[in-house]
Subunit: 381 residues, 2 copies
């Protein structure tokens, strides 16, 4: 059986959990949480990182930091995970869904422009498959209209964007805030887990407070205040050290993991290129301004029925690809308060995009089988 | 050095984490999450249990399930952890703080009655130190005024309440909802972690949806709907299987842990009883309707200054007791929108209550040293 995903232990995960227990502290913000945060801050030049229990929680922290109030509008791609929208809906925002590019699931800046009103407060670009949205265009729109940009970088660890002046920056370091995921399907995993990146130092202190249940406990432990108490809204957004210890062991092996994933990605590309050249399928596009973090390999089928046939065909060989999001503008929750609108490219990816098995322990032999079966499927089409 | 708290590994914690990874699933709601939930449902007759990433998150789920809207009033003891209030404040509730009993930090039902208005929607009894609030009185008030009761049972695992008709029920099974914690300071630990108990089956389905980011994913996996999507508000409240695996190993040893903690509690009682008899300190009160889960051993000093002297005296012997909450009605956040009010018993516990070191691996020898030093402190008073 070749599953879509498979979690893995690569190094000292269990030993570090034991170490954390022995250190006398496994609640949040212990030694391993600090090691992980420091790792990210140094490697990707993130000004401040706070680990969270999930990417969803990081997005919720961003929503509180943006001071979302009922009536504020937040622009989100329709082709995304529900949390990109939910985190802002929880604070009372009106979600404004916009379309992807025709040939790339990322949000189209031209579509963003069309949907800005005097109530718009935040743009949420989602770096689909870890491939950068056009951040220069998006940041310019945000500057023109005085908006926050919250990067949904759930899939975008170790991925970069190059500006037109040649400056290259890690995804997550460009908007005001960014949210990453360490869900078991991501490149670096902790089962469930995430982090918030804060790129503007004027939000550092409040972010710490919100994450510590609305208390100034972090400042207290640094000796900046002489007692701590309830000063703001907040929640318990910080993960157990058991999670951070597991995560840190993965981070120590980031380069190994990434090298292996790039190989897997390139093998898929080589093995399926002929099908794309013959227009049976469409392959992922990596724009010139983006890098490839090998988070995901997807194909876009010609239509919904052909995708369904392909899924069934592969399942007969015990290969388990999976489709992805359903256009959120068509969800039951959105349609309670909104009229149906047409967002065609998002619908196209909803119907036709298919993600292939992709995980650290996927063997070359397994991958050749997947590639061979897909080619066989299209032989008589 | 005798710290206030010390986390511990008691059995198969690491082996189960490894098993979870090998099973192919470490995101939420895997095998170990289900095992933990089933354990609690069977042992304590909880109708439905959902593990969460923290007790705070379980309280937030309860607030969404109670449909809290701006202007709704929620009655909370002033002497409690910030999350008991914050979870409802996040949904826009007005928090109404009320006082504890004079000789017991639990909420006083007579004080609850005085603060009910036409806007009251929820009462949040907090079972301080795992000792039951007067749930019969509180449930009667709730029934009379058609209110929700959300038990903050963070500290109350394995603790019971006996009704006047002799019926004995586990704490957490009495209100509409209850929230428990597995923070490293609790009897059963996962570093950070929690669970929501749902006692009314009319909320089962919505609770699952809210916990799964507002999607009906759980129903989908049971085959009840043929696709899943965004149907409600929600968040990512479910913990990683790494957490659940660790927790399940602890649960397998619940009886051993509880037996040891009861011994520790009783040794403190014996060793400090004479000081209480001579009115130097006050000891915990276990009302007749309550049981003792040995979560915490605290003493109440005669005044703030004496408590400070005692803390300093014990620290000289490398013993680290800690005080607890600060009256939330005096917090900066509450005073932004509210006038200062007088809640005297809460202030008394804020100033005078002191928690003694208490953890599974605390040795008898260490404990005798603590008891001896406290007695020495009072010798010349």
């Amino acid at each position: 059986m070749i599953p879509f995903n498979k979690p893995f232990i690569i190094g000292n995960e269990l030993r570090y959990i034991e170490e954390a227990v022995k250190s006398g502290k496994i609640s949040g913000d212990g030694l391993f949480t600090k090691k992980c945060q420091q790792f990210f801050e140094e490697k990707y030049k993130f000004p401040k990182v706070l680990l969270t229990t999930s990417c969803t929680d990081a997005l919720e922290m961003a929503a509180i930091l943006c001071d979302i109030k009922p009536g504020d509008e937040v622009i989100v791609p329709s082709y995304t995970f529900v949390s990109s929208a939910n985190a802002f809906a929880l604070r009372g925002a009106k979600i404004v869904f916009v379309d992807s590019y025709k040939d790339n699931p990322n949000i189209d800046p031209e579509e963003i422009k069309k949907h800005i009103t005097s109530n718009t407060k935040v743009i949420v670009p989602v770096h689909y498959a870890g491939v950068a949205c056009d951040m220069e265009a998006i940041m310019n729109i945000a500057k023109d209209h005085n908006l926050f940009v919250v990067e949904d970088a759930a899939q975008a660890i170790d991925s970069y964007y190059t500006f037109s002046d040649g400056t290259k920056k890690a995804l997550g370091s460009i908007g005001h805030f960014a949210a990453f995921s360490f869900h078991e399907t991501k490149n670096i995993i902790a089962g469930e887990g995430g982090m918030l990146v804060i790129n503007d130092n004027k939000y550092f202190e409040r972010a710490e407070i919100i994450r510590e249940k609305g208390t100034n406990r972090s400042a207290f432990f640094r000796g900046e205040v002489n007692k701590y108490g309830w000063v703001d809204l907040g929640s318990s957004f910080l993960p157990s050290e058991i999670i951070s210890a597991f995560l840190f062991a993965q981070l120590e092996n980031l380069d190994t993991i990434q090298a292996k994933r790039i190989d897997i990605w390139n093998r898929y590309l080589q093995g399926l290129k002929a099908l794309a050249d013959n227009n049976f399928i469409q392959l992922p596009i990596i724009p010139e301004f983006a890098t490839n973090n090998a988070h995901m390999f997807y194909i876009v089928c010609r239509n919904y029925d052909e995708r369904t046939s392909l899924i069934n065909f592969l399942k007969e060989s015990d290969i388990h690809p999976v489709f992805h999001y359903l256009s959120l503008n068509k969800s039951e929750f959105f349609l309670k308060d909104n009229l149906e609108i047409d967002i065609p490219n998002s619908d196209h990816f909803t119907d036709c995009l298919l993600r292939l098995p992709f995980y650290y322990e996927l063997s070359e032999e397994q991958q050749q089988k997947i590639i061979q079966r897909i080619n066989t499927f299209y032989q008589n089409k």
